[in-house]
């Protein structure tokens, strides 16, 4: 049997063919989530010309950049949320999607992150948590679990990691969840929620990084083994609440952390404009 070649229909429809194949390593979770994202866009019938894909610096930012057929706006490291805030306020009719990494979003970009949550800027953020710095070669991230070896924690990481979804909720995001890249349906549902909602939606995805996280932290460079490890170490939020922090140390907690309705920053500006004109 001969396998024929066929360009994936989502690629044909939404990507710049000349920029494919994309740049991820074999088995990297980012590519998976990109597929789920295109599926959500496709299902929702979003006009790609009105869909601005904003990114930062890191693998998860580099992958969709200039691959997405529509507007691709790549900010400097850590700044996509500040830039997305400007874009969304300047042209509220655009659907703004941000792809960012755990370092981009929670380390250098942490301040923009909590403020974008607080302001409830109506954009959808997918945060790729690979628990490491992928692009720069495997340094520790603010999400790396305690004890893990990385290139800058050669004796094991000594800093407790952030829970990004918890932080988002505490900072004011109207929606925050976490899934693993191996939960396509959950991600798709959250993406659709985010893309159609009127608030700041934070979708964190544990994204397997065989090259850096697998290699340095788990000593599991093989994508299949890493996939198995991921699935074995996934714990539901409900269940996690019954577990000790010691038990949860290297677990990936998945679930929805918050899901509320409240006026977005765009709504509030609209009100403000009316008020200003009257005074």
């Amino acid at each position: 049997m001969v396998t024929e070649t066929k360009i994936h229909p989502l690629v044909e429809e939404y990507f710049r063919i000349d920029r494919m194949p994309h740049l991820a390593c074999p088995g990297c979770g980012i590519g998976m989530v990109m597929k789920y994202t295109l599926m959500a866009i496709d299902e929702l019938g979003i006009d790609p010309q009105k869909f601005t894909w904003v990114t930062g610096v890191g693998c998860s930012s580099r992958l969709p950049y200039a691959v997405w057929k529509g507007d691709c706006i790549d900010a400097t490291h850590g700044r996509p949320l500040a830039m997305a805030t400007g874009i969304k306020l300047a042209r509220p009719e655009l659907t703004v999607m941000v792809y960012t990494g755990d370092g981009d979003c929670l380390s250098i970009g942490g301040n923009h992150f909590i403020h974008a949550c607080r302001r409830n800027v109506p954009i959808t953020v997918v945060m790729f948590n690979n628990q490491i710095y992928g692009m720069t070669g495997g340094q520790v991230a603010p999400t790396t679990p305690l004890g893990y070896q990385t290139q800058t924690s050669p004796y094991g990481n000594i800093e407790e990691p952030f829970d990004g979804a918890k932080l988002a909720a505490a900072a004011g995001a109207s929606y925050a969840c976490r899934w693993t890249a191996f939960q396509p349906k959950r991600i798709a549902t959250s993406l659709k929620k985010g893309l159609t909602s009127n608030g700041f939606s934070y979708i964190e995805v544990f994204s397997p990084c065989p090259t850096q996280f697998g290699r340095y932290a788990l000593k599991l460079g093989d994508p299949v083994k890493l996939a198995m490890w991921t699935q074995q170490n996934t714990v539901d939020l409900k269940k996690a609440e019954t577990m000790t922090s010691e038990e949860l140390r290297s677990k990936i907690i998945v679930g929805e952390y918050i899901d509320v309705e409240k006026p977005s920053l765009v709504d509030r500006y609209a009100e403000l404009f009316e008020k200003a004109k009257r005074s």
Partner: protein
């Protein structure tokens, strides 16, 4: 005498290590000067990879291979060969793995040495040491360094526990090269 060596192929083939082994052999065990540089993939891991070594008896100012002055090209992939052949100096040496590279250009003013490094390495039980097979062959074919110095460099420069295997690969490469030269 300045010798400019380029090792090129895919990521994961261990070319950076190969270059480093050569260069540190020169510096630490052969009383020569050497520098080593490499490409840093901004492409997907598994993409192109390149390592450069300059060996000289004098201080090395300019640390890179100069187009048209590349003395030795070690190619472990077709794309790499195509890309870098033009930099090889007239009469230079090209060592390649015919198991990985099927089309070798003709009418080029250079001596081509085919070394089946990958399959020799497989024969030793681990394809991963194809790089050391090539280092052994290169050393033998070019005489740029004494084989002894290279072996010492291997002993102290590879991951602990892998010394023996790597040394075997060096020997196998050197032997294969000898055969080749004798044949010629």
């Amino acid at each position: 005498m300045r010798k400019e060596i380029r090792l090129a192929g895919f990521g994961g083939q261990g070319l950076i290590l190969a270059g480093t082994i050569l260069a540190r052999a020169a510096v630490l065990y052969a009383g020569k000067e050497a520098v080593q540089r490499q490409s840093y993939g901004t492409e997907a891991r598994g993409g192109a990879s390149r390592s450069e070594v300059i060996i000289s008896d004098e201080t090395i100012d300019y640390p890179e291979v100069i187009s048209g002055r590349n003395d030795i090209l070690l190619a472990m992939g077709g794309a790499a060969l195509t890309r870098y052949l033009k930099d090889v100096k007239p009469g230079g040496i090209v060592i390649y793995d015919p198991g990985l590279i099927l089309d070798v250009p003709k009418d080029v003013n250079a001596t081509f040495y085919p070394i089946r490094a990958a399959s020799i390495a497989e024969g030793l039980g681990r394809r991963i040491v194809a790089n050391m097979v090539m280092v052994g062959a290169l050393t033998e074919l070019t005489g740029v360094l004494p084989l002894d110095a290279v072996k010492k460099s291997v002993e102290t420069g590879v991951k602990a526990g892998t010394e023996e295997l790597n040394l075997k690969a060096i020997d196998a490469g050197a032997a294969e090269a000898k055969k080749l030269v004798e044949k010629a």
